[in-house]
């Protein structure tokens, strides 16, 4: 799925959150959005998903306008999957129910056997088959992450949005999940504020600072940025990088 954002602006009251964001993403591409806390990363993802409406700008998904001043395609019609920071697994449903709910409510009706087949394929892929009858609150954090991924991917979305879903995982587990993300054959936007993630994913990186897209490119290309804010931020990140690798 291709994605094209043109001059996206968002403000909460009088506070600007996003300023003239322009971005394009080709089918199957992986983009990491990097930025400090409060820079508007989550808001940008929510706007792409249709959960929030921008004040200005245009969003085009697979050649179709999803958002402009006159049109708003609701989230359920955008063919987008999203994993939230808190995962948002429904606590009153079992793992199976969490994963299959979207399939059951698709516009194109699928029969129960097919639903089960699809669910089993996904859960086997993520190694959570034995948890199907359990409630999310009884699972460990890593298991919950897998369930959230399975729930998002079972609908085979054209675009997957990941809002810092692995921020509270330990390094080993995070490494495993990042490998998994890399292996997915879909367009992905991954939001993070940790340099480890961009080095591990080695994908195109967009640097979002104070609601502005300061730089975009491969990690090694970012060094040549002319933006002073981006330079300052990258300087901070290299400090973090040293600390992480030294320890």
């Amino acid at each position: 799925m291709d994605l094209y954002l043109e001059k996206i602006n968002k403000r909460y009251g009088k506070t600007p959150v996003l300023n003239d964001i322009n971005l394009s993403l080709k089918d199957g591409e992986l983009l990491t959005i990097l930025g400090p806390s409060g820079s508007g990363k989550t808001t940008l993802l929510r706007i792409i998903a249709g959960l929030e409406r921008p004040n200005k700008g245009k969003i085009v998904i697979s050649g179709q306008i999803a958002n402009n001043p006159d049109i708003l395609i609701p989230p359920q019609r955008r063919d987008i999957g999203m994993i939230f920071q808190n995962l948002a697994l429904w606590p009153h449903m079992t793992v199976y129910e969490n994963i299959s709910l979207g399939l059951r409510n698709r516009k194109k009706k699928i029969n129960n056997n097919d639903i089960n087949k699809i669910v089993f394929q996904v859960v086997e892929r993520f190694g959570i088959k034995r948890y199907l009858d359990r409630y999310p609150t009884t699972l460990s954090m890593g298991e919950r992450q897998r369930v959230a991924l399975a729930r998002a991917l079972v609908l085979d979305p054209g675009l997957l949005l990941l809002d810092e879903p692995f921020s509270h995982l330990d390094w080993n587990l995070k490494d495993e999940f990042l490998d998994l993300i890399k292996s997915l054959n879909t367009t992905i936007i991954y939001v993070t504020h940790q340099v480890f993630d961009i080095l591990r994913l080695n994908s195109k990186v967009a640097l979002l600072i104070d609601g502005k897209l300061e730089a975009i490119g491969k990690p090694e290309e970012l060094i040549n940025t002319t933006s002073s804010k981006a330079k300052d931020f990258l300087r901070c990140l290299s400090l973090y990088k040293d600390r992480n690798f030294n320890s």
């Binding site: 929510r46 998903a49 249709g50 959960l51 049109i71 708003l72 395609i73 609701p74 989230p75 359920q76 987008i80 999957g81 999203m82 939230f84 808190n86 948002a88 697994l89 429904w90 606590p91 009153h92 449903m93 709910l101 979207g102 409510n105 698709r106 516009k107 409630y135 609150t137 009884t138 699972l139 460990s140 954090m141 729930r151 998002a152 609908l155």
Partner: protein
């Protein structure tokens, strides 16, 4: 696209329309009559004594109930009190037993004649309503982070922690409890009526019964309306963004510091429960000397029993559904963020049901509305106009505990707004639904003043029957009928408790959202 978005909110708009039709016409009548007001008319009515008595009743009731509920709340809300469930269930009894029955029990126990001043009336009402601030205090205490107290332990003693840290942290809950008690007491008709006290509500009721004069009734009620408006505004501010009623009584949370030792807690709890709740009731029920009286009374009251169960169950169910839809909509559309809107929505709840019934009679007692006014539907309108604002508020608090991401994840899983509400929000609101259903049920069963004014001919609820019997009936018959009333209150409550237990065992209730299991 816009049309589809509008369509998905249809059910909520329908519920909102019901809410507007049920709740606000009486308020509009009050406002219209207020605009026609002449100052000389109010002065000529002579309201000093009724007002003085009403204020004494409400103030005594609020203060006395605080004296009972604060120490009890500190006991049940502390972390060291491991199993508060039994006490908490027993302490529901005063809320379940209608206030006029409690009043009758105390009269028979001490006074033996139906007389008593406003102070006595206030004390009786506090014995009926003290569980309200108690639950609020426990609810507030369970939300305090125990680290706040632990850090204070390094520099303060237990008493200082209680007065300087714990109580200031729960003051909004205490204040909310006091306001609710004040409102419930000042608007209660049954107890002052039984005790023969000339207060505002009894005057309002008797004047309207005799003269059927709407303007005069509104004139009588003006100062009370102003008090109610002020208190509903204050209530709105206090409960804004606060989860104020909760069934969360898990022993793992709660305050750490308590001035009570463990054994003292148990003794204090048992003494209070026995003295305040069980003793007067036992004294009333000991009047039933033979099973024959009980059997005869049961047979005579079967029709009233049936009316009570059917009316209260259907009314509670209907009003709970409206509450769920409106509560969800009000929370997600951020209605409660606005102080004025808060006060406007809560205002009808603060008005006495007698006044609401008077206004409802004025509005609906017309030939074209006979399908409503001449049938039990008018009772549901009355109960809705009084209790919907409160139950909607409670549901909104429950909705605020559901992370909005749960719904957004549903939308991204191809669910429509309505399906998100049905599959995700409604199951998570299970405990909230049970709570408001139960609340409306017991409040409607106990309601007397307004119900007496609008109840259609040929229909008699158990409350009305007992209330009438209290004035001229035999005490044995009153006691036997009261057992039926308590039974009618216990049937759905037992059912709901079983449901709640099953939900909790399955880990399906909304409380599990925040549970850290692993």
């Amino acid at each position: 696209m816009k049309r589809k978005r509008y369509k998905s909110w249809t059910i909520f708009l329908a519920a909102f329309t019901f809410f507007l039709i049920i709740v606000f016409p009486p308020v509009i009548v009050v406002i219209i009559e207020l605009l026609k007001l002449k100052a000389s008319s109010i002065l000529s009515i002579g309201l000093v004594e009724p007002y003085k008595n009403s204020l004494i009743i409400a103030s005594t009731s609020s203060l006395f109930s605080l004296m009972i509920s604060l120490p009890l709340g500190l006991i049940f809300g502390s972390r060291s009190f491991r199993h508060p469930y039994l006490f908490i269930v027993i302490l529901l009894i005063p809320l379940i037993v209608p206030p006029y029955l409690t009043a009758k029990s105390w009269i028979d126990l001490f006074v033996k004649t139906p007389i008593g001043g406003p102070l006595f009336c206030g004390v009786i009402l506090s014995l009926c309503y003290f569980p309200i601030p108690l639950y609020l205090i426990v609810s507030g205490l369970r939300r305090i982070d125990s680290e706040l107290e632990e850090s204070a332990l390094l520099i303060l003693n237990r008493w200082q922690i209680l007065t300087k840290i714990t109580i200031p942290l729960i003051y909004p809950y205490i204040a909310t409890g006091l306001i609710l008690i004040f409102l419930f007491s000042i608007t209660n008709y049954s107890v002052p009526s039984i005790l023969g006290i000339k207060c505002l509500i009894t005057k309002l009721y008797s004047d309207f019964s005799i003269f059927h004069n709407l303007s005069k009734s509104i004139w009588i009620a003006i100062p009370m309306i102003i008090i109610c408006l002020f208190l509903s505004y204050l209530l709105g501010i206090l409960i804004m963004e606060r989860e104020f009623i909760s069934f969360d009584i898990s022993p793992s949370k709660g305050i750490m510091v308590s001035i009570f030792e463990n054994h003292k807690k148990v003794v204090y709890g048992i003494v209070i429960i026995f003295l305040i709740i069980l003793f007067p009731l036992i004294s009333l029920f000991k009047e039933i000397t033979s099973l024959k009286i009980l059997a005869i009374t049961f047979k005579d009251s079967l029709r009233s029993f049936f009316h009570t169960i059917v009316l209260s169950t259907s009314g509670s169910l209907f009003l709970s559904i409206i509450s769920i839809c409106c509560g969800y909509m009000f929370q997600r559309k951020k209605f409660w963020k606005n102080r004025l809107l808060n006060a406007i929505i809560l205002f009808p709840f603060s008005l006495p049901s007698v006044l609401l019934a008077i206004c409802i009679t004025h509005i609906w007692n017309r030939a074209i509305f006979s399908i409503l006014y001449d049938t039990p539907l008018i009772l549901i309108i009355l109960w809705g106009s009084k209790y919907l604002p409160l139950t909607i508020r409670i549901i909104s608090d429950h909705v605020s505990q559901i992370p909005v991401e749960f719904e957004e994840a549903g939308l991204l899983s191809h669910l429509t707004q309505f399906k998100v509400f049905r599959h995700i929000v409604c199951p998570l609101l299970g405990s909230g639904f049970l709570l408001i259903f139960w609340l409306i049920y017991i409040l409607t069963i106990s309601e007397v003043g307004g119900t007496l004014l609008v109840i259609p001919p040929g229909i008699e609820t158990l409350s009305i029957r007992i209330f009438n019997l209290l004035h001229y009936g035999d005490l044995k018959v009153v006691a036997s009928t009261s057992i039926m009333l308590i039974l009618s209150l216990l049937i759905p409550i037992s059912f709901l408790l079983i449901l709640k237990t099953i939900q909790t065992l399955k880990g399906k209730d909304s409380g599990s959202i925040f549970r850290k299991d692993k």
